[in-house]
């Protein structure tokens, strides 16, 4: 029981660390990856809080699709830069 | 139970379905469908108004499960009146603005515009009818996204930037609103309005929970006032309304921001309880912010160099008027606020639908410099612009005057000395400023142009434009001359709220 409490506390602290780290990172790719790991931690917390529905959704959406959209956007922005240079 | 009670449900579900249908239809068909559908909705709303006026308010259970378990919607006189006026404005905005939509939009995206318009109708109506806080949140998000969509359909760089600004502020507002809803759920354990109010009556009596209740109410208020554009958060308005296509500008300025305020009033009356809200300090803060918005919005409108930006800043000032009404408080204050919602919605829609016509005969420029004599080149638009400007200034027989009168009456009825002086001072200063910039514009568009700026006069569809504008004019005059009818309706509606 107490082990669970410790585990949960560690996860919660990690959440805050991730949130602050995103704020302080200069590199956008790194920020997006930290955000994806933030979502994965959130997913574990949902399981600990007995909400499996939310865990599945968060894993598929928060870590999966939101993250992919962010990455695709980053890619698109770099492609734009590349186009600019060649023109 | 009569069949009429099902109409609120039909208005929402059919609007959602129309959104999906317009996604499938080609552009022109989508436009015709939307026009017919909006007219049909107007009739339904009129019918609901007639029923509620005779038989009183009713709640409608969405599904088999009653109050604390299932969703509910509610229709009373106030809701029906608001829905009716909103639908008429929507209809006229589509009728007057579709030519500009065709001009501003790519043809392959026209059906998407009408799909968004139908979804927005659904969101507006659900926010008006809702009896459930969380439903309010969901449809508030639809409203935010659809208004963003309506803004960006005109694909120029300015609208994209305006949309980013608009969305960021709106997301802050939505986040705060959701947090407020969650706090209220935590305190009361319910999401429907009536059960929450029951619990909140107990909580307000307990001095330990009162601060938490005040904080939750404040968070809800901040969220919704950011979204509607109260004074410190009004700076997104000029870009948003100034660059959007006319129909979107008219709808966003006269309906979307008003729907948020309507939801706020509904929450004050039906969730928290008006007597409890009046005891909180929120009321005075809203009064001060409202007055600040009135004055600062008008000053900024004075030195705009573009007619649409001027109208947008005047919208900010008018949002200030409405929040001042909420700040005055009491039945009279809220009546005045809601009356001003209607008056401003009717007037501002007209204003935003005339300015593009004036610009069209001035070389597609909205700058005052180029607009000289545009009222002579396009006489219809000039006349309608003058009418709406008179109403904004507050010239008797127009709606704006009746609204200002209501504010004065409410302040007198309230009786508190400093509030009375403040309100009257604000009304005087703001009316003067309004008069200054609107009269200047009217003289500007009617003074003879120089030889160098003379433009050719283009023919246009006159009947298709004049008939809807006449409808708006008649509504404006009706609100101005027979204000007691509307005031009576609002009064009845507010009494049904509590």
């Amino acid at each position: 029981m107490s082990l669970l409490v410790i585990f949960r506390s560690i996860l919660l602290i990690l959440l805050i660390v991730c949130a602050i780290a995103v704020n302080l990172t200069k590199d956008l790719l790194r920020a997006v990856i930290i955000f994806m790991s933030y979502s994965s931690i959130m997913c574990l917390i949902w399981i600990l809080m007995e909400s499996p529905d939310l865990a599945i959704t968060e894993a598929a959406v928060g870590a999966g699709i939101s993250g992919t959209l962010f990455l695709v956007t980053l890619k698109k922005l770099r492609a734009e830069d590349h186009t600019e240079e060649n023109e | 139970m009569l069949f009429v009670v099902n109409f609120p449900l039909f208005t929402i579900v059919l609007s959602l379905f129309s959104g999906a249908l317009c996604f499938m239809l080609p552009g022109k068909a989508a436009r015709r469908y939307t026009m017919c559908y909006e007219a049909f909705l107007t009739v339904l709303c009129l019918w609901i108004l007639q029923y509620t006026y005779l038989n009183g308010a009713f709640t409608y259970v969405m599904g088999e499960f009653p109050a604390p378990w299932g969703n509910e919607i509610r229709a009373g006189v106030l809701e029906a009146t608001t829905a009716l006026i909103f639908m008429i404005i929507m209809l006229t905005a589509v009728f007057c603005g579709y030519r500009f939509i065709e001009k501003d939009l790519d043809l392959s995206k026209e059906n998407l515009y009408y799909a968004l318009l139908n979804l927005m109708t659904a969101a507006l109506l659900s926010m008006i009818w809702t009896n459930d806080l969380f439903t309010g949140y969901v449809f508030l998000e639809i409203l935010t996204l659809t208004s963003c969509g309506l803004l960006i359909v005109r694909e120029i760089g300015r609208t994209t930037l305006a949309a980013i600004r608009y969305m960021i502020l709106n997301l802050l507002g939505s986040g705060l609103f959701l947090l407020g809803v969650v706090l209220l759920y935590d305190l009361s354990g319910h999401l429907l309005m009536v059960p929450i109010q029951k619990v909140i009556r107990e909580l307000a009596a307990d001095p330990n929970t009162l601060p938490v209740l005040t904080i939750s109410t404040a968070i809800l208020t901040i969220g919704l006032s950011i979204k509607s554009g109260l004074f410190p958060f009004h700076f997104w308005m000029p870009d948003t309304y100034g660059w959007a296509t006319p129909t979107s500008a008219a709808i966003m300025s006269s309906l979307v921001s008003k729907a948020y305020i309507f939801l706020l009033i509904k929450i004050y009356w039906r969730v928290i309880g008006i007597d409890i809200v009046e005891r909180m300090p929120i009321r005075n803060i809203l009064l001060v912010l409202g007055i600040a918005g009135m004055v600062i919005g008008s000053v900024q409108a004075l030195h705009a160099d573009n007619i649409n930006r001027m109208a947008a800043f005047s919208s900010a000032a008018n949002i200030g008027y409405i929040f001042m009404g909420i700040g005055i408080g009491g039945v009279a204050g809220y009546t005045a606020a809601i009356f001003h919602i209607f008056a401003h919605a009717v007037t501002k829609a007209m204003l935003f639908l005339t300015t593009p016509r004036l610009a069209e005969v001035s070389g597609d420029s909205l700058l005052f410099k180029e607009l000289q004599g545009s009222g002579l080149r396009d006489r219809d638009a000039g006349v309608f612009f003058t009418i709406s400007a008179f109403s904004m200034i507050g010239i008797p027989i127009f709606a704006g005057f009746a609204a200002k009168l209501q504010f004065g009456l409410a302040a007198v009825e309230d009786g508190a000395g400093w509030r009375l002086i403040l309100v009257f001072l604000a009304l005087a200063v703001s009316s003067m400023l309004n008069a200054l910039y609107f009269v200047r514009t009217i003289i500007r568009i009617y003074s003879r142009p120089n030889e160098s700026t003379r433009m050719e006069v283009r023919p246009h569809h006159r009947a298709g434009y004049n008939v809807p504008m006449l409808v708006l004019t008649v509504m404006n005059l009706f609100l101005g001359l027979f204000s007691w009818v509307t005031v009576d309706l609002i009064h009845r509606g507010l009494m049904m709220f509590s």
């Binding site: - | 099902n6 579900v13 959104g19 249908l21 604390p68 305190l187 601060p211 030195h303 410099k369």
Partner: protein, 314 residues
Amino acid sequence: MKERFFKWFYGESDPMEHILDCAEVPDESREEWKYEEHEIEREISRRVHTQSVIRAERRGFYAFYLIIAVISCLMLIGVLLFTVSQLPRYGVENPRAKEVIERYVEKGLEETGAVNIVSGMILDYRAFDTLGESHVLFTALLCVMILLRLDEKNKRTRYENYYTVLADPYYDISTDPIMRIAATITLPSIFLFGIYILLNGQISPGGGFSGGAVMGAALIIYAAAFGFTVTDRVFTYRMSRCITFLSLAFYSFAKGYVFFTGANGIPNGVPKGTPGAVLSGGLILPLDIAVGMVVACTMFGFYSLFRRGSIGGE
């Protein structure tokens, strides 16, 4: 004074420009600000310079901004933390919420036929919210289509298109062996998992939205690994449009029918089925399928629009 008033009156200048330094109104009379289109482009290319100018001009302002940011953030957090400390305790049942939950838990199985109480709640008791929720997603799809779908106005030139593809090595790959083999191995199980949680929403965790999201993610992986040419063969724009429309229309009408009959006290005649079986929960299963279809199409649509500006093969 008089001159200045008339200048304002004729829209030529702003009388208060020296009093209130309004950033919103650029001074039009200055010739050097009237850029032509190509000059704007040059201006943009000089953005590094602009950046340094902004920094130098507004350094004090940013410091002020930062302080305000930190203070307002701390104040907000402080007020909210105070609120939290006054709220009911964590991990203990909130007695006020009991009335609602009792019905959901004790009668839920009987009234909705769903073993998963959350599914029963969102698709039966509070179905109106969920109806709105799926339309939020649809609205978002429309907005993204308006912004990113290529049309006559914002069609890329062939030249630009060429470089975009060149700069984006995963635009249409079919050569990366690691990606392809990994996708071949994992995709069937991801699809299967998606379909499983879609169909079992009423008896186990999951449901329309999560199932649809997993399937959408699978489609995204498929497109990323094998290229859009493969997905276009199966998944065209027309098909995605039809699926979205039919699912949403079915959803609106099914729910409208249930609301209508429920409110008027007419039995709706939807069989509840055996609790615990796949075919149970009345309308929950068909609605889950409809939502799942919409979500899968929308998610893949987002990805496809972001990558190349169209939903599927035309």
